[in-house]
């Protein structure tokens, strides 16, 4: 089997010639040469073998089920026509349905085999391979060939988009564009994890793999080439300029001039926008949390993003922004970020169950609940009781432990490792230098996730005395330091120093201080400033000061909040009123009666609904049924 695969790729040589016509220099060019060396390493097929191959290809073609062939032809036509509706249907449902049916455990047919179906359309074949490899990565185990070839294919795609004469006419659904960028970064991260030189991973690699890694591994999937793609897409599409102009409220004409030929096309604009999010993600993976937030300078984090309706993008953005805030020790900002997106996910849940990305989104949401738990332990707040309750349900045990100082550290560790991004190293191990590689195995470097964990835990350790001190101080309005030290069984001087830690833990830099305020969605004041900006806020309801040796304490209390409840219910009442007004006037006596009955039903439904609080959905649903009944009666 593997023999056949290898040979098939080698036979692709003349196909490669064609693709070479497209200028793939950019930054990825050199890597392509690296891959060419590797091609030579594979067996050159003799003439007889290539004859055999042609037969094998024919046989493989014959094996493709007719329905799949029809699907590919149809899909190709949709792409040729730039028919977004048809492409979306093929992409979101057709492909997945056929995958379930025929390719749940095997690869889709290789691009070369289906090429005759699409008149050898190279662009479509690149798109097809994009799907082909994504399927390999998600359902099967990619081997080293897949890893290099998927990289080359991505390069060919980006090269086609960026280096053709002017913008290309291709149109693809937003979801697919997001998936292209998302998958590109995922495969980058996956390759970095694969090449990492831990002793166990090295032992699992064959000699062939080691040779390939030493020859092509330094170029393919290099950090520079990945960043280059993302920055090129951002610059070509002028998406940052577009975002800025949008925010400044420029007219369409002005914006058209600002963004130019490329930026005017949705394909480029969306790829540019997704590349910004992609950059955020790459910077986070590489441990650069400030730069991650800095590239987001022009992106507004609001619930009603006008830019994209791609939920996965939305969720990924908030996850990474929130994580950056954690590493910047801005826990209140992290909490706000997670609260916003987790509420969004909760609301979306009822509409989104059919999506194949639903599982992925739920997994990310679970990790954000874990991160929220961590932030909450380090900086308790009552921003959103609903989310907090879910966190207690999911991670109750850890939440309890994390409030217990030193013995809670393993709980922080557990949640952090579960919920953190899959950190990578920027550079490959020295596969080209056997001595250095051997030295590395003798003394393996710490894995990236462990390194970031250690850094994070250093802040957790500094926080260790905080919960205990806080709980003691809550009991007093003034207290002698010596007495407090005595309670805690601690040295007085050390305890006083810990009080300064408590003070530091009670204040934080946060965007909320910039005038945004409130738990509501980002207001204009804060959203126009970079995500890195912030002012000081107090994060604790406990304030204290030390006068020589006497600690004075005061506690703030939060008055009960009514506004949210009233606003929600006013809006709800308005929707009910709208519904009533929009319905037809009663005509005949029978209809009148039915309407009265229906109105009673609405009334009956109401109090119950107000209790449930979450909403409009059940109320309107119930009402519709009632009116429908009336019509039937008429």
């Amino acid at each position: 089997m593997s023999q056949q695969r290898m040979a098939l790729w080698a036979a692709e040589a003349d196909l490669d010639e064609d693709i070479h016509d497209v200028d793939i220099s950019l930054a990825m060019g050199s890597s392509y040469q690296g891959a060419a060396i590797y091609e030579e390493a594979a067996h050159q097929p003799s003439l007889d073998e290539s004859a055999l191959l042609a037969m094998a290809q024919q046989a493989a073609f014959a094996q493709i089920p007719d329905v799949v062939k029809r699907f590919i032809v149809h899909f190709h036509q949709a792409v040729l026509d730039n028919n977004l509706a048809e492409i979306t249907a093929a992409y979101e449902s057709g492909w997945n349905r056929l995958t379930e049916k025929y390719y749940a455990k095997t690869e889709w047919p290789e691009a070369e085999i289906i090429a005759p179906l699409v008149n050898d359309d190279q662009i479509f074949l690149i798109l097809y391979r994009e799907l082909y490899y994504r399927h390999v990565y998600s359902r099967l185990q990619p081997n080293i060939d897949d890893r290099f070839h998927s990289y080359e294919n991505s390069c060919e795609l980006f090269n086609y988009l960026l280096n053709s004469d002017g913008p290309v006419a291709l149109e693809l659904p937003e979801q697919w564009l997001w998936d292209i960028i998302d998958e590109f970064i995922y495969q980058f991260q996956s390759f970095c994890a694969y090449r990492a030189a831990t002793p166990t991973k090295l032992k699992a690699k064959s000699d062939d793999e080691l040779v390939m890694l030493s020859e092509g591994g330094t170029q393919a999937w290099s950090s520079y080439s990945v960043l280059n793609v993302l920055y090129s897409l951002i610059q070509k599409s002028r998406v940052n300029e577009w975002l800025k102009a949008k925010r400044e409220g420029r007219s369409d004409e002005e914006i058209g001039e600002i963004v130019g030929d490329y930026g005017a096309r949705p394909l480029y604009r969306m790829l540019g926008y997704f590349s910004i999010i992609g950059l955020l993600r790459v910077h986070v993976l590489l441990g650069d949390f400030t730069l991650g937030l800095k590239v987001m300078e022009n992106v507004e984090l609001t619930q009603k993003s006008t830019v994209t309706r791609v939920t996965a993008c939305h969720v990924a953005t908030y996850y990474h922004v929130g994580f950056c805030y954690i590493m910047l020790r801005r826990y209140p900002d992290a909490i706000r970020t997670f609260v916003q997106i987790l509420n969004f996910v909760l609301r979306m849940r009822q509409y989104h169950t059919r999506s194949y990305q639903y599982d992925q989104i739920n997994k990310t949401a679970d990790r954000m609940y874990a991160l929220f738990a961590i932030c909450h332990a380090l900086s308790p707040s009552r921003l959103d009781d609903n989310i907090l309750n879910i966190v207690r349900e999911k991670y109750g045990e850890q939440v309890t432990k994390m409030s217990k100082g030193e013995e809670g550290i393993p709980a922080f560790e557990e949640l952090f490792l579960y919920a953190c991004p899959k950190f990578i190293s920027a550079n490959p191990p020295p596969y080209d230098d056997p001595d250095a590689l051997a030295a590395l195995i003798e003394d393996p470097p710490t894995e990236p996730a462990q390194r970031h964990l250690t850094l994070f835990l250093s802040d957790v350790r500094a926080h260790v005395p905080v919960p205990t001190l806080r709980s003691f101080l809550k009991l007093y309005t003034s207290l002698d330091a010596a007495k407090l030290a005595n309670f805690l069984d601690a040295d007085e001087e050390e305890m006083v120093q810990q009080m300064m830690v408590l003070k530091q833990a009670s204040r934080s830099v946060a965007r909320a201080a910039l005038g945004g305020g409130g738990a509501s969605e980002g207001t204009e004041g804060s959203s126009s400033l970079s995500l890195l900006e912030g002012g000081y806020i107090n994060t604790s309801d406990l304030s204290f000061a030390i006068d020589d040796n006497m600690v004075h304490i005061a506690e703030s209390t939060v008055g009960r909040r009514y506004a949210g409840w009233f606003i929600r219910n006013t809006e709800h009442a308005q929707r009910v009123l709208d519904g009533l007004r929009a319905s037809p006037l009663p005509g005949t006596p029978q209809q009148l009666q039915a309407a009265a009955a229906a109105a009673a039903a609405v009334k009956g439904g109401k109090p119950q609904d107000a209790q449930a609080q979450d909403g409009a959905a059940p109320a309107t649903g119930g009402k519709k049924v009632a009116w429908g009944g009336a019509k039937v009666a008429a």
């Binding site: 960043l227 920055y231 590489l286 441990g287 650069d288 949390f289 400030t290 800095k294 590493m327 910047l328 550079n427 020295p430 250095a436 590395l440 470097p445 710490t446 390194r451 970031h452 850094l455 250093s458 350790r461 500094a462 001087e493 120093q497 810990q498 300064m500 003070k503 530091q504 204040r507 830099v509 305020g517 509501s520 207001t523 970079s530 890195l532 900006e533 912030g534 002012g535 000081y536 304030s543 204290f544 000061a545 030390i546 006068d547 020589d548 040796n549 004075h552 304490i553 005061a554 703030s556 209390t557 939060v558 008055g559 506004a563 606003i567 006013t570 809006e571 308005q574 709208d578 007004r581």
Partner: protein
């Protein structure tokens, strides 16, 4: 309005050239590392600090291990120490740990030995254990850092004392002279002068710290305030239905 982070994001001393490197794509160009390194040494000589520019150096080292210069890294870390309680030190570490083993045995890399010491210093500052910080800092094990690095870093000790002053100002209304002395490693006249520079007045055994938002205690009842945007839907609806 100047925010708490604005000087950190763009220090007033940052030149346009550096600003372009920090904010543009040129930050990835290895040939610019010299400019940024010179800027670091300028910061060291003139008591300036620019975290983002220094992170840009570390980013170049991360991607181009052959550029790596341990002296520069140590200086960046010392500068970052003085930014506590902000996370600068850890932000730097997250970029430099990512480094392959030094392959050149002729020039031993001092960083693996120094890094744990610097991390210890940072942990002590971060945990506000200032007397322990000075003890460690003055100890024999840190001789090489003192003699090779901090001696060049103008005002290093004073910058650490500023970190202390920030913590003390937020926590105390009055602080014993002996206690403050142990925090800043100063006695007698020098201590008095330090406190005077902070604007703290002196009585017989204490320094009095003027009140500021952090060392004032107040029992407040926080009332909810409703912002107009929260009501926008309700208001918009009522105008629509009129």
């Amino acid at each position: 309005m100047a925010t708490a982070t604005s000087t950190w994001l763009t220090p007033p001393t940052r030149t346009e050239l550096i600003e372009n490197l920090v904010s543009g794509v040129d930050r990835y160009n290895p040939s610019n590392v010299g400019i940024l390194e010179d800027y670091l040494y300028h910061q060291i000589r003139s008591q300036e600090y620019d975290c983002l520019a220094n992170l840009a150096i570390l980013k170049l080292y991360q991607f181009n291990p052959d550029l790596y210069n341990p002296d520069v890294v140590v200086n960046i870390l010392l500068k970052a120490l003085t930014a506590a309680p902000f996370p600068d030190f850890n932000l730097c570490i997250s970029l430099i740990d990512d480094r392959p083993v030094n392959a050149n045995p002729d020039e031993p890399d001092p960083l693996p030995q120094l890094l744990p010491l610097l991390t210890n210093l940072h942990n002590l500052i971060h945990q506000c254990r200032f007397p322990a910080f000075w003890t460690l800092y003055r100890s024999d094990s840190l001789e090489s850092i003192r003699e090779n690095y901090t001696v060049e870093c103008i005002g290093f000790e004073d910058s650490i004392r500023e970190v202390v002053a920030r913590a003390v100002r937020a926590t105390f209304t009055r602080i014993g002279k002996e206690r403050l002395g142990s925090y800043v490693d100063l006695q007698g006249e020098e201590l008095e002068q330090f406190a005077a520079r902070q604007g703290w007045t002196s009585d017989s055994s204490n320094f009095v710290i003027p009140s500021n938002p952090d060392n004032q205690i107040e029992a407040i009842v926080v009332q909810e305030s409703i912002k107009l945007p929260q009501l926008s839907k309700v208001i918009a609806h009522s105008t629509k239905t009129q």
